[in-house]
């Protein structure tokens, strides 16, 4: 549906009912005013030809610039619901984008962790409830044999440590040297990555701990050891080779758990004295980290 355009100041429109060049040029330049503008805009909504003609009056360089930026923004991944939720909570967008590079936040990693925890916790639950063969356990079904919890106690904090290690070890970051040479604070980058990896892993571990047949305080009791383990690994990484630090931390957890399991008292590792010890390790590690945080800026070159 076209309209006739007498025009505000005389016959500037073509006889075919479209907006004339002068009118379009005036509209683009902002010199046309008043009600005539509304008529032009109403016509443009319908007429592709006049729309194309109007484009000729817009700064081509500006249009091209916006076009290339648009295509870049369209090429960037949008991010899932979790990211949008965090954005609303006020987390800056650029920090969230940094997390894309963290292997321990990828779906494949998280699924593997969930899988391992499910198997270990599920097996413990199944044995306790008598669904699986008791495999030589002395305790009748329905009662809790603490030995059944040992695998979970061994594995769960190690999985948290693995997640954090993947966040800070250079071998997991292919573009690691770029990160070192860049002005963005190495400490911030590390914090963002390790805290996120820690949170994700802890959620999985605590959730699995609820499935576990055991004392009700077990999920909470796993928090401190996991945190202490990760803090120790990070602190040790400022002193020695990061990979060695991670392996040492893992060993420092595995050894006591295995020993206590062999002595049939696996739960001791998460009971009161051990919790105090973990708290002490956590504090000491935090102090070391504070004192040596500039190591993260230099890269682990020494």
């Amino acid at each position: 549906m076209t309209s006739s355009f007498p025009g505000p100041a005389g016959p500037v429109a073509g006889a075919d009912g479209h907006a004339g060049e002068d009118l379009l040029a005036g509209y683009a330049a902002g010199t046309v005013d008043g009600v005539a503008v509304w008529s032009v805009e109403a016509h443009l909504t319908r007429c592709a030809r006049c729309r194309a003609a109007l484009s000729a009056h817009v700064d081509a360089e500006r249009l091209a610039g916006n076009r290339s930026v648009l295509l870049v923004r369209a090429a960037l991944p949008e991010g899932g619901r979790a990211r949008r939720l965090l954005c609303r909570c006020g987390v800056p967008d650029h920090l969230l984008r940094l997390l894309v590079a963290t292997p321990s936040l990828r779906r494949s990693w998280l699924l593997s962790v969930a899988g391992v925890l499910a198997v270990v916790a599920g097996e413990a639950a199944a044995v306790t409830h008598g669904w699986l063969g008791s495999g030589g356990h002395m305790v009748p079904p329905g009662m809790l044999d603490p030995g059944v919890l040992a695998p979970f106690l061994l594995v769960a904090p190690l999985l948290v440590l693995a997640g954090v290690a993947a966040a800070f070890l250079p071998m997991f970051d292919p573009a690691y040297r770029l990160a070192v040479a860049a002005p963005f604070s190495g400490v911030t980058l590390l914090l963002v990555r390790t805290v996120s990896a820690l949170a994700a892993a802890l959620v999985a571990v605590v959730a699995a701990a609820f499935v576990l047949p055991g004392p009700g305080w077990l999920p909470a009791a796993l928090l401190l050891p996991s945190l202490a383990l990760c803090a120790f690994a990070l602190a040790a990484a400022t002193v020695t080779d990061p990979r060695a630090a991670a392996v040492t931390a893992a060993a420092l957890w595995a050894l006591p758990v295995l020993l206590l399991a062999a002595a049939h008292v696996p739960l001791l590792i998460v009971q009161r004295n051990a919790q105090f010890a973990c708290a002490a390790v956590l504090c000491a590690s935090a102090l070391v980290l504070l004192a040596r945080h500039d190591r993260f800026d230099l890269g682990w070159t020494r």
Partner: protein, 200 residues
């Protein structure tokens, strides 16, 4: 070019964009970014903000946040998204924190009945009456009636308080009614015009 052909091209392009074809997005941009930029610039003089709004509009089309359900011009559909993106951009620019409401999807584009009326009206009595309004009142009418914005959105666009928008719309309606009720020509028409040119 037959109007029908261009229109169906646009619909096809929109569908291709929804499918994730980047070339379709670029083609849609080439067709529509020009007029969108000009029309948005008339609402907001800051070129950076307009650029942002134009990018955000096509990005919204790309992300499929607003489903085009057919019927109505594609250009009008794009305008509906564009004007709201402009308001978002202005709001971000001016640092206003208040969010109007959580919109899960873009509202359906207002049928351009007003557009149809306007197109034939320019030099009729309504056109004269509109021309007689002061720029502020015309701006309020344009934002609320033509662009289909809520009073709160119009307030952001015009840079005034929401109450000011409401009062301007009211005064504009009064002035138009008076102008249309009076004789087409004669000394009486000066009275409504004086009323229209109030303060603020």
């Amino acid at each position: 070019m037959r109007p029908g052909a261009a229109e169906s091209d646009d619909v096809a392009l929109l569908r291709a964009v929804a499918r994730g074809e980047e070339e379709a997005l670029a083609a849609l941009y080439d067709r529509h970014a020009g007029w969108l930029t000009v029309r948005l610039t008339r609402r907001c003089a800051m070129p950076d903000v307009v650029d942002q709004a134009v990018q955000d509009t096509f990005l919204a089309l790309w992300r499929g946040a607003c489903g085009y359900r057919g019927g109505g011009d594609v250009a009008a559909f794009i305008w509906g998204i564009g004007i709201r993106r402009l308001i978002d951009a202005i709001r971000r620019e001016s640092g206003a924190r208040r969010r109007l409401r959580w919109r899960a999807a873009e509202p359906e584009v207002v049928v351009s009945a007003e557009d149809q009326v306007l197109v034939g009206v320019e030099h009729g009595r309504l056109g004269q009456a509109l021309a007689g309004l002061s720029p502020e009142l015309r701006g309020a009418i344009e934002a609320t009636v033509l662009d289909g914005l809520t009073c709160a959105e119009a307030a952001v666009l015009l840079g005034v308080a929401e109450g000011t928008v409401k009062s301007r719309c009211h005064r504009a309606r009064v002035a138009l009614r008076t102008a249309l009720a009076g004789p087409p020509s004669g000394p009486d028409t000066t009275a409504p015009h004086r009323e229209a040119w109030g303060t603020s």
